[in-house]
Amino acid sequence: MSKTQTVQNAGAGAANVKDGPLDVFKYRWLFLGISLVFLLPGLFFIIQNILNPDIQAPVRLGIDFRGGTLLEYGFSKPVVQADVNNIRAVFDQRGYTGSVIQIQEPRAGINKQAVEIGAPSKSASSATPNVEPPAQPSAQGSQQTPAPASPESTKTEGPLASKGVMQSQPVKPVTPANPPIPASNANKPEISTPAAVSTTGESTGASGNAKVATIVSIRSKQLQGQDEVTIRQELSARYGTITLLQKNSIGPALAKELLTNALLALLMAYLLIVGYLTFRFQFDFAVCAMVALVHDTLFLIGMFAMFGALFHTEVDSLFITAVLTVVGFSVHDTIVVFDRIRENNRIYFTKKVPFVKIVNMSINQTLARSINTSLTALLTMLALYFFGGETTKDFVLAIIIGIAAGTYSSIFNASVLLAMWRNRNMPAPAMTTPATV
């Protein structure tokens, strides 16, 4: 509604157009160089990881993508580094060689609580008397079962006489009714092997209350069958009660599929974003945004390649989620700058303001916004990193790194590249106007 007014206000002539304090274009090689310098360590570790026979991928793949079992045990007694070899030996014995075992500090909230683990639950124990081998029905049960069908249903047999007919009877009379059956359990299918519930329940520490003094995480090849229970029993014989905090087990075929899906999702995200930007802006905008996105992704992956090489950090499905979120966030940032370039270009193009200057101006106009938006997003993620749960820590860290990289690339890479591209392709206006700063 007031577009013309803005034009009048600002369009006082090309030479007088202020493009802001920060001349991004002038220092373009510096800014692009900084990006490269920051990418280099990551690239180094990516190559090193690919060559490392233990990893064979740019980043250390977690069991999500490689297959295997991740266990987290809470030991009731303190476990020290010297015990790690003993624990590993138990895994080795059963053929799960090459397990990675880490001792973690007990987390806030876990070591303080005494929690009931492994004791047979009320429902399980009340179900036990309910369940009896079906081979021994009581006399009462066998009498009831063959009771003749009601006359009502025999009447309707007529039209279906050609087929054999059986009368379905309720299940209840056959399984002998024991006094303690709760009403809610009576209709449920019966459990035929009740013993298993209580015996294996003991393996997790039937003593009832278990305190966690040390958390030990173990990454191994995929544990088969009952091996996890057996191993836990063997360990608890030596180390006291062990609580299973977490177990994640994935077969190699599914892991491969998850990896393929993750990479496919990333590729599709790129394509869709380029498509959308081409549709909303122009192709060269889309390409430059894309370069910035690849920069962000590469930086993030490079950092996690480094963490993987140095701290054994593994990459799981959540990491891919973080990468995609960062891609979304980064392009979000880039779009705000592009949107301003597009708007300024519309206003100033006729005034023969060079594109480079328009880009500079647009970056400066959106600078506060770019930084503030990233800051608020970073504030929430930092809170989650420092105060949130352990499980999402790497995920949150990935988002923090990605947002930082994305903000930098939106300001200093995407638009600068666009200016360089247009400057080369459309030299005419840029040459005729003195580029005073």
């Binding site: 806030a108 683990i117 081979a135 054999g164 177990k247 075929a253 993750a262 705000v336 809170a383 988002i399």
Partner: protein, 412 residues
């Protein structure tokens, strides 16, 4: 429409009240993911066997029914069995005490057997099993009663004929056992000689369907592989949820402080809009029945940080318009208008990535995508409509006309 800001205000107040009501009323109905409440998630994959060379949707349907039956027999509440892809089932069992036992029970091949009672009243094997069956179907009689039709193969027909001839004269029951567990014990009224018959009783549609699925599962046994297992002990979940919520509150607080420190009165207004946003989003999560996972909560917290982006865009734009010499009120209005394309475009790309994550992701990734997407969509409402309405309200309260310079004091 923004001229009618009183109507807007009423709508916002109504929404806030409704959201508050929802949150207060249903706060104990929040669906927590297994990573927060503890439990086991299994991904089962059906594999073809010589008997069942192809895993068809029908096979999966009967398999699902069988797995549901087995999950229920574990005696834990709120279990979920979902189909996934062509040949997979995802089973979620909360609070299971012994995941390995559960896994063992769910993963075995179904065994369908027919038994009869001996003189002592004990069930004994008859030699007729699932292998003798070809198929069972749901049907109704002319009276409308639900019945189960079944068909046997030639060998089965012979065995079954012999068995039913023996049982029919005394109207003896025929025990149908699945996984050694009695499913039904129909009385044999007449010999079934031609290889097909029906079972009738006081079936509801569900109970008849159940029997059909069981018979089919016995007739079409497939191998079941557990290809993924994820178990979280209740201990870990409880501690994570408290930490995440605490972190979320800290994050929200920091964003509020930043906005007020940097944008003063307008920042305060944006902060109020952010509180409205947080409340509305939470209420929508509950209405939609979003399952809260750790990643989902992270998505929600991130969306809090991103929700003020639209406000920042608008306020920065407003500042520029002020520098260009507009009156304060006009600058704000222009700020809203000019910032809109950026807000729309940038949120669209976030929604695109959310969509991809939703389509390609599993479990917690889906949860993250859904919460972030709902958050982004609602943030546009809060940052634009809610903020604008609040600003109008302040302006009105100051008793000056819209176009008077300084109507908002040191708002900008």
């Amino acid at each position: 429409m923004f001229k009618n800001f009183k109507v807007n205000l009423l709508v916002i107040v109504a929404l806030v009240m409704a959201a508050l009501f929802t949150v207060v009323k249903d706060h104990d109905k929040i669906h927590l993911g297994l990573d927060l409440k503890g439990g086991t998630r299994l991904t089962l994959e059906a594999e073809p066997t010589p008997d069942v060379p192809q895993v068809t949707p029908a096979v999966m349907e009967s398999l699902q029914s069988v797995i549901e039956r087995r999950v229920n027999s574990l005696g834990v509440g709120e279990s979920v069995v979902q189909r996934a892809g062509q040949n997979r089932l995802i089973v979620e069992i909360p609070g299971v005490k012994d995941p390995d036992e559960a896994k063992r029970r769910l993963g075995r091949v179904g065994k369908l057997e027919f038994k009869k009672l001996n003189a002592q009243g004990q069930w004994i094997n008859t030699g007729v099993s699932g292998k003798d069956f070809t198929k069972a179907d749901l049907s109704t009689k002319q009276s409308g009663e639900w019945i189960v039709q079944f068909a046997l193969n030639s060998e089965g027909a012979q065995k079954f004929g012999k068995l039913t001839s023996e049982l029919a004269p005394t109207h003896a029951p025929l025990g149908i056992f699945f996984d050694d567990q009695q499913v039904s014990a129909p009385v044999v009224n007449e010999p079934i000689l031609d290889g097909s018959g029906i079972i009738e009783g006081k079936f509801t549609r569900e109970s008849a369907k159940d029997l059909v699925d069981t018979l089919n599962a016995g007739a079409l046994p497939v191998d079941i592989n557990v290809i993924e297992e994820n178990t979280v002990g209740p201990l870990l979940g409880q501690s994570s949820i408290k930490q995440s919520l605490f972190a979320g509150l800290i994050g929200l607080g920091m964003v509020l402080v930043f906005m007020i420190a940097y944008y003063r009165l307008m920042g305060l207004v944006a902060g109020m809009a952010l509180l409205v946003y947080t409340l509305l989003t939470f209420a929508v999560f509950m209405l939609v029945g979003v399952t809260f996972t750790l990643a989902g909560i992270a998505g929600f917290i991130l969306s809090i940080g991103m929700a003020v982006d639209a406000n920042i865009l608008i306020f920065e734009r407003t500042k520029e318009e002020l520098k260009a010499g507009r009156s304060k009120w006009k600058a704000i209005e222009v700020g809203f208008d000019r910032a809109f394309p950026s807000i729309f475009d940038s949120n669209t790309t976030t929604l695109i990535t959310c969509l991809l994550l939703w389509v390609m992701g599993t479990g917690s990734v889906k949860g993250f995508a859904l919460t972030l997407a709902i958050g982004v969509a609602l943030s546009m409402f809060s940052a634009i409509t809610v903020t604008r309405t609040f600003l109008h309200m302040i302006n009105n309260a100051s008793g000056q006309s819209l176009s008077t310079p300084g109507a908002l004091g040191e708002a900008v």
